[in-house]
Amino acid sequence: MFKLFTSKKVAKNLAIGLASASTATGLGLALALNVDLFASDHGCYPAKYPWFHEGMFNTFDHASVRRGYEVYKQVCAACHSMKYTYYRHLVNVSHTEEEAKAEAAESMVTDGPNEEGNMFQRPGKLSDLFPSPYPNDEAAKAANGGALPPDLSLIAFARNNGTNYIFSLLTGYQDPPAGVETKEGLHYNPYFNGGWIAMAKALYDEVIEYSDGTPATASQLAKDVTEFLRWSAEKSHDEKKKLLLKTMLIFPPILALFYVYKRRVFTVLKSRKIVFNPNATGKSTGSGSAHH
């Protein structure tokens, strides 16, 4: 009888195990197919790259952010605005205060009105936004064959799988597959939705020279500008990681102590034993007597 019970229990556990495993496999497969499905919807699915800042407690690679700013300034800024990023944001992130002031001073900003009621031009200050290349969206479209270059401040969040997507897009330009006709004014890039993008390939080996002497290969340029754009999308990232580290350090010991205390409070309740013996008549084994 015991054996039968045991084998039934084993069979039941086995059945539950098998059912759980097949459900998990099914869910995994559905998820994987789902990802591929949406990938085909949005162009090639970008590979996952080992971004330094994605580590549990890692900050941005600040040297990379600084180089990325150089790439943005010398290559991207010709067409793309960053209207949510101020020069002051660079201070103690990629530049010293003096350096950031010097960067800001390179741009000319329209200010005013002055005492005569006229607008005037002045060198930029830390409190100024990065300058936009076009006065408005219509001018930007007119200068780019009808396509509007998106603002890059939040672009790393405004695209699915942002960092991997931006890097893949910047390094993904190629000739269209055999048999596919080229389109006037568009460039083939399998990572872009639909495969044809108005932006021409912008990053080539040594297209700029890094101030820190890092070899400016195309993939290095793409990696650095992606890191810069990721920083721009979330400027509080490093502070957030510091708080995460504090959370991970402070909570476990508090939880452990609280767990022990909670167990202690419940000890009496948990170790109660209620004995019901309807045939007993004696006082010592009376029905409903409780033993601790």
């Binding site: 949510y84 699915n160 400027k235 959370t247 939880l255």
Partner: protein, 379 residues
């Protein structure tokens, strides 16, 4: 008599949180209610502080949200806590309702119906809040959801324009949505107090489903300590998710300012509304879809009909009822997934089948305890 039992105000607190007789055998499934209370407080506090910095005008709403999270002290944390808090709110709501269905908590009609009402208002509040950052998904979610009103015969188009405050979703819509998003949480709070009042009138249910009158302990120390412990566990998990995956809960489209001329490729709500969204889309008729969406939640009211006369409630005494419950959970997950899929074959067909399964299982779960009671009394 001690002070805590005699003071007219303190004795209410005493009877709610100190001397309250509670079943001795409550499992962790009875913690979702207190966790929901905590999340409500988190949402209220973070929301009110965010509102001091937010501008509810369509020209600057998006910019003000960006400014909050990149230029104000710990504004990023408040925003992350508020958005992740919404997800946890719904996670615990679903667990709380699931616990109620499994253990038959609907035998207390007032508690159950007020709970369903809170859930309905909460869905509205979350939707209104989602519109406020005025990103692409905010704008198009507002457009899609408010347009549902147009399915109402005769009055539809008038109602839609009345809600919009114009001929399209625009600044008047955003302004009134902000006002209502600020107001409704206080209505929820009032209903929560009523929910707890009626609960304590009857006393908590317990995992065995039988009367616990012979086996009570006082709330304090047992459940005050347990609730506090679970609060700390929650805070740990909540902070971890907020700080590690906070932005993963947000749609990429909502980092693009609202543009009435560009429709996003895939319009979809947050994960917690996906099941209802799948039901809405699965019915190939606008009015039918809207009715399906409304009924998906309203069906919960059915459970309280004549429920006080039940001898059996919930699923614990019936393996078949448990099978129905877990099938309902599976269908809920399936609908949630389908809500994120494009509205095309084969998803639409599977969604229609899942919608039929959802309502069928709900009705079976609702009727089953009545059938069991009838059969028992007959035998």
């Amino acid at each position: 008599m001690t002070f805590r039992k005699s003071h007219p105000l303190i004795k209410i607190v005493n009877s709610t949180l100190v001397d309250l007789p509670s079943p001795a055998n409550l499992s962790v499934n009875w913690n979702y209610g207190s966790l929901l209370g905590l999340v409500l407080v988190i949402q209220l506090v973070s929301g009110i502080v965010l509102a001091t910095r937010f501008s509810g005008h369509s020209d600057i709403s998006f910019d003000s949200v960006i400014s909050i999270y990149q230029d104000s002290n710990y504004g990023w944390l408040l925003r992350l806590v508020h958005s992740t808090g919404a997800s946890f709110f719904f996670l615990f709501i679903y667990l709380h309702i699931g616990r109620g269905l499994y253990y038959g908590s609907y035998i207390y009609p007032e508690v159950w119906n007020i709970g369903v009402l809170i859930y309905l208002i909460l869905m509205g509040t979350a939707f209104l809040g989602y519109v406020l950052p005025w990103g692409q998904m905010s704008y198009w979610a507002a457009t899609v959801i408010t347009n549902l009103l147009s399915a109402i015969p005769w009055l539809g188009s008038i109602l839609v324009e009345w809600v919009w405050g114009g001929f399209a979703v625009g600044n008047p819509t955003l302004t009134r949505f902000f006002a209502l998003h600020y107001l409704l949480p206080f209505v929820v709070t009032a209903l929560v107090i009523l929910h707890i009042f009626y609960l304590h009138l009857y006393g908590s249910s317990n995992p065995l489903g039988v009367s616990s009158n012979t086996n009570k302990v006082s709330f304090h120390y047992y459940y005050s300590v347990k609730d506090l412990y679970v609060y700390f566990v929650f805070f740990f998990i909540f902070m971890f998710f907020t700080l590690k995956y906070g932005y993963s809960f947000m749609d990429a489209e909502n980092f693009i300012p609202a543009n009435p001329l560009v429709t996003p490729t895939h319009i979809q709500p947050e994960w917690y509304f996906l099941f209802a969204y799948a039901i809405l889309r699965s019915i190939p008729n606008k009015l039918g879809g809207v009715l399906g969406l409304v009924l998906a939640v309203m069906v919960l009211f059915l459970f309280s009909i004549s429920s006080t006369q039940l001898l059996f409630s919930g699923t614990i005494y019936s393996p078949l009822a448990r099978l129905t419950f877990w099938s309902l959970v599976s269908v809920f997950f399936l609908l949630t997934w389908l809500g994120s899929c494009p509205a095309e074959s084969p998803y639409t067909e599977v969604a229609l089948a899942s919608t039929i399964a959802y309502f069928s299982l709900m009705v079976i779960m609702c009727v089953w305890p009545h059938v069991s009671t009838y059969l028992y009394l007959k035998s």
